[in-house]
C-alpha cells in the first residue's frame, strides 16, 4: 500500500506550453548509461501540438500527484504526441517504450544479456575487459542495460526529471500492467541478477504517460493508480482550425477542410477519420496548391478514409450532390 505522497507543484504543463521556443536543449536519452553528472545534451525541436485546456489541466494533476497519466481515445487524436509535447514543454528528456505483444514488464526496467555474458566468459582471459583489466564477464552488471522506465528512475535518483511514454500498453500480455504496479507505485527496482544493483527515487517521480487503445481491458488495480483521460476529437471547428494552422496550413484551406471533415464525421462511417489523417491530407493538398473548391471534390480521400466501404460511400454521396 502506497503511503501518502507529497504533492509536487514544481512542474506545470499548462504554464509551460504558453511560451515555447522553436527548439531547446534537453538531456539526450540515446545513451547506454544514465550519467550522474555531466550528462549529454542535444537540441530538440518543438513538438507541434495543441492540447485542450482540459487535457493540460489533467496533465498537471498527474504531474502534481505523481501518478501515471493514462490516455485513451480514438486513434489519431494525439495521445502519443502529448507525451512528446509535455516533455518538450517541461524541458525534460522523454524515454519511449513501444509495447509489443512479446514485451515483458521487466524489459521496461532492465534487460540482462545472459547469452553475451556466457560467450564472453567462455573466451576466458581473451574475453573483453573493463578499464581495470578485469574480464567483463566476471560481473553480471556489465551485461545489464536499463530500459526506458529504469533509466527514468535512475535519472530521478540523481535528481533529474524525465517523462516516460509507454505506448499502446494493451498490446502486451494481460499480466504486463500488473507486473508494473510496484515499480510505478514506488518508483524503485532492483536487479536480482546483479546483487546490489537497482535504483529508487522516493522524492522525485518520473512523469509516466501510458496510451491505451481499448484492445484489451486493463486490470482494475492498475487503473486505479492512474489518472485517466479520454482524448476526444476536438469539439469545435475553431479548435480544429487552430490545430491545422499550428501545422502550417493556410486559413482558406483549413476552413474548408474542417467543414469537410465535420461532414465526413457525421456520416455513419466504419472508421471515422482522426486528426492525424486530416492533418496529413490537408498538408498534402496545400503542397499541391489545391484551392478550397478543389478540396470540396475530396481528392486523395484515401489519406483520410481507411475503409473500402467508407470510401465508396463517400464517393457515391459526392456524385449524388
Amino acid at each position: 500500500v502506497a503511503k501518502v505522497r507529497d504533492v509536487d507543484l514544481s512542474l506545470s504543463y499548462a504554464e509551460a506550453i504558453k511560451n515555447l521556443q522553436p527548439e531547446r536543449e534537453i538531456e539526450d536519452t540515446r545513451v547506454d548509461v544514465v550519467a550522474e553528472k555531466d550528462w549529454p545534451r542535444r537540441m530538440v525541436e518543438r513538438e507541434v501540438y495543441r492540447p485542450s485546456a482540459e487535457l493540460a489541466r489533467v496533465t498537471d494533476l498527474a504531474l502534481a500527484l505523481g501518478r501515471p497519466l493514462l490516455l485513451q481515445g480514438e486513434p489519431g487524436c494525439g495521445k502519443t504526441r502529448l507525451a512528446h509535447s509535455a516533455a518538450y514543454a517541461l524541458g525534460i528528456p522523454l524515454e519511449v517504450s513501444y509495447i509489443k505483444s512479446t514485451s515483458r514488464a521487466q524489459d521496461l526496467l532492465y534487460t540482462y544479456d545472459a547469452v553475451r555474458r556466457l560467450y564472453d566468459s567462455q573466451l576466458g582471459a581473451e574475453g573483453p575487459k573493463d578499464q581495470n583489466g578485469q574480464p567483463l564477464a566476471r560481473l553480471a552488471r556489465n551485461y545489464i542495460s536499463l530500459g526506458p522506465l529504469g533509466r527514468a528512475i535512475a535519472r530521478a535518483e540523481y535528481g533529474r526529471h524525465s517523462a516516460v511514454l509507454i505506448d499502446e500498453i494493451d498490446k502486451a500480455d494481460l499480466d504486463f500492467p500488473n507486473d508494473l504496479l510496484w515499480e510505478l507505485d514506488r518508483m524503485e527496482f532492483s536487479v536480482p541478477e546483479a546483487p546490489g544493483m537497482g535504483h529508487s527515487s522516493a522524492a522525485l517521480r518520473p512523469f509516466v504517460v501510458i496510451t491505451h487503445n481499448e484492445e484489451k481491458p486493463l486490470p482494475p488495480a492498475f487503473l486505479r493508480r492512474c489518472i485517466y483521460y479520454y482524448v476526444e476529437f476536438p469539439k469545435t471547428r475553431s479548435e480544429i482550425e487552430r490545430i491545422l494552422r499550428l501545422h502550417g496550413v493556410g486559413s482558406a484551406l483549413s476552413k474548408k477542410s474542417v467543414e469537410l471533415i465535420g461532414e465526413l464525421r457525421e456520416k455513419d462511417l466504419n472508421k471515422k477519420p482522426g486528426l492525424t489523417e486530416l492533418i496529413d491530407w490537408v498538408r498534402y493538398e496545400e503542397a499541391r496548391e489545391a484551392t478550397p473548391e478543389d478540396l470540396a471534390k475530396l481528392p486523395d480521400i484515401e489519406a483520410v478514409l481507411k475503409d473500402r466501404a467508407d470510401i465508396e460511400r463517400v464517393r457515391r454521396d459526392l456524385a449524388a450532390t
Binding site: A2, A64, R67, Y228
Partner: protein, 404 residues
C-alpha cells in the same frame, strides 16, 4: 479533511455512490481527490472539479459518463472563478457540509466553493407565500442531469478472460531466442570444451477453442451477456485460435428419429435404452454470424476450427422453456457423439442456474456431458475439464464415426 460521519460532504456521497456501482475505489482514491483539491486543482469552475473527479475515479469512457452524471446530480450549479485562476484559492477552509436534509438551495451554495466565497451576512428569512403558486407543465424544470444505464453482467469481462486464460497448451515454437540453461550446462559438461550456448524457442499457447453459441428464441435475453463472454474469451483469452459459430436450439439438426419409434405413446421417455443406437450426426450447417444468416457446413467448421480444439457449447439446453423435448435431446446427443470423434474435450455452459435445469432437456444433457452454469465458478470448472481434469458424468457418450 471532512470526516465521513453524520456530516456528508458531497464528494463523499458521490464517492459512496460510485463504490455502490462497482467502481474499484478505496480510501486512497478518495484521499487523492482531496490532495488534488488541497493542491489547488478543481476550484476554478464546476467543470474543472468534475474533471478532477473523473480523472481520478473513472477508468474508462463509460465510467467517465457515470461520474459526470452523478456529479451533475450533486452539483447543480455552474460556477466559474474567472479572475486570476492561476493563484489558487486558499484551501484550508473546508467546504460546508451537506446535511442529510440539505435542500437544493444548500447544494447550490456548496458548489460555490469554500465558505469564505459566500456573501457575508446572509440570514435565512421566512416569508408567507399565501397558498401554492400555480403550476403549469411548461414551468416544470428539466432535470439538470441524465441517467446512465450500464450493463452489469454476472461475470465481468476481465473475470471471464481470467478464467479462460487458464486454458493453456504451451508449446515451444518459433525462432530460438531463449537461453536454455540446463541444455547449455549439459552440453558443456558432455563435451568438456567451450561450446556455444543452447537456445530454444519461447513458449506459446497452442490451445484452440471452438465456441458454439445458441441464438434467438429462449436465448434472446442472454444475447448480450453471452456476447460479452465470447468477446472476453476471444480478445483476452490469449488462445491460439478461437472459432465462434452460432446455431438455434441444437448445434446440428435432423438426427435419424427412427430410434424413437419404440417410445410411441410414452409421455416422457428416456433416451437411455437406445443411447448406443443413436447415430452420430455429422451433416448440417452452423452459422458464422450472430444473426444466423451465413451458413457454414459442419464439415468445414470441423476441419478449420474443430479438430483438436476444446469445444464449448453456450446454450440453455431447453432449460429456459422448462420443457423436456425428446427430439432436441436426440439431436444434441447425436451431435455430441459425432463431436467426440474430432474433439478431445467438450463442455456445456448454461446461462441458467442448475436449479432451472431440473426436468428439462438440459438436465438430460447434463447426464451425458459436463454442463456448468455460466457464472464465474462454473467457467473455472469448465476450464478445468477442458484442461483435462476428470469430470464423471452419469452416462458418458461413446464416440461415433465421423464420416468427414
Amino acid at each position: 479533511v471532512t470526516e465521513p460521519g453524520e456530516q456528508h460532504f458531497f464528494l463523499w456521497t458521490l464517492f459512496q455512490q460510485l463504490r455502490r456501482r462497482g467502481f474499484a475505489l478505496g480510501p486512497e482514491e478518495y484521499e487523492a481527490v482531496q490532495s488534488a483539491l488541497r493542491a489547488g486543482f478543481g476550484w476554478s469552475s464546476h467543470r474543472e472539479l468534475q474533471e478532477v473527479c473523473s480523472a481520478l475515479w473513472a477508468t474508462s469512457r463509460e465510467e467517465r459518463a457515470v461520474v459526470a452524471a452523478l456529479f451533475d446530480q450533486h452539483v447543480t450549479s455552474n460556477w466559474r472563478l474567472d479572475a486570476g485562476t492561476s493563484d489558487a484559492p486558499v484551501v484550508e477552509a473546508e467546504p460546508a457540509p451537506l446535511t442529510a436534509e440539505g435542500s437544493t438551495q444548500e447544494t447550490d451554495e456548496l458548489a460555490l466553493g469554500p465558505p469564505e466565497q459566500e456573501p457575508e451576512g446572509l440570514v435565512p428569512r421566512t416569508a408567507s407565500m399565501g397558498g401554492l403558486p400555480p403550476l403549469t407543465l411548461s414551468e416544470l424544470p428539466v432535470l439538470p442531469y441524465q441517467h446512465v444505464f450500464l450493463p452489469q453482467y454476472p461475470v465481468s469481462f476481465r473475470a471471464a478472460a481470467q478464467a479462460w486464460r487458464r486454458l493453456r497448451w504451451p508449446v515451444r515454437e518459433g525462432p530460438a531466442t531463449e537461453l536454455d540453461v540446463d541444455a547449455t550446462i549439459q552440453r558443456r559438461s558432455d563435451l568438456g570444451v567451450v561450446s556455444p550456448p543452447v537456445l530454444r524457442p519461447r513458449r506459446r499457447n497452442r490451445a484452440k477453442l471452438l465456441l458454439l453459441v445458441d441464438r434467438q428464441g429462449s436465448m434472446t435475453p442472454f444475447h448480450s451477456y453471452v456476447d460479452e463472454v465470447c468477446r472476453a474469451i476471444s480478445q483476452a483469452g490469449r488462445l491460439r485460435q478461437v472459432g465462434v459459430f452460432y446455431f438455434h436450439d441444437t448445434p446440428l439438426e435432423g438426427a435419424d428419429a427412427s430410434v424413437l419409434e419404440q417410445f410411441e405413446g410414452q409421455l416422457f421417455p428416456s433416451l437411455d435404452p437406445v443411447l448406443d443406437d443413436v447415430p452420430p450426426l455429422t451433416q448440417g450447417t452452423l452459422m458464422s454470424d450472430a444473426d444466423l444468416r451465413t451458413p457454414w457446413s459442419a464439415r468445414d467448421v470441423v476441419s478449420e476450427h474443430g479438430r483438436g480444439a476444446a469445444v464449448v457449447i453456450l446454450s440453455d439446453g431447453g432449460a429456459a422453456r422448462g420443457r423436456y423435448d425428446l427430439l432436441r435431446l436426440l439431436d444434441t446427443v447425436a451431435f455430441l457423439k459425432a463431436a467426440k470423434e474430432w474433439s478431445y474435450r467438450l463442455v456445456w455452459l448454461n446461462p441458467l442456474p442448475p436449479t432451472a435445469w431440473t426436468g428439462t432437456t438440459a438436465a438430460e444433457i447434463a447426464r451425458h456431458m459436463p454442463m456448468f452454469p455460466m457464472d464465474r465458478y462454473g467457467m473455472y470448472r469448465a476450464v478445468n475439464v477442458l484442461r483435462g481434469q476428470p469430470f464423471p458424468v452419469e452416462k458418458p457418450l461413446t464416440a461415433g464415426a465421423w464420416s468427414g
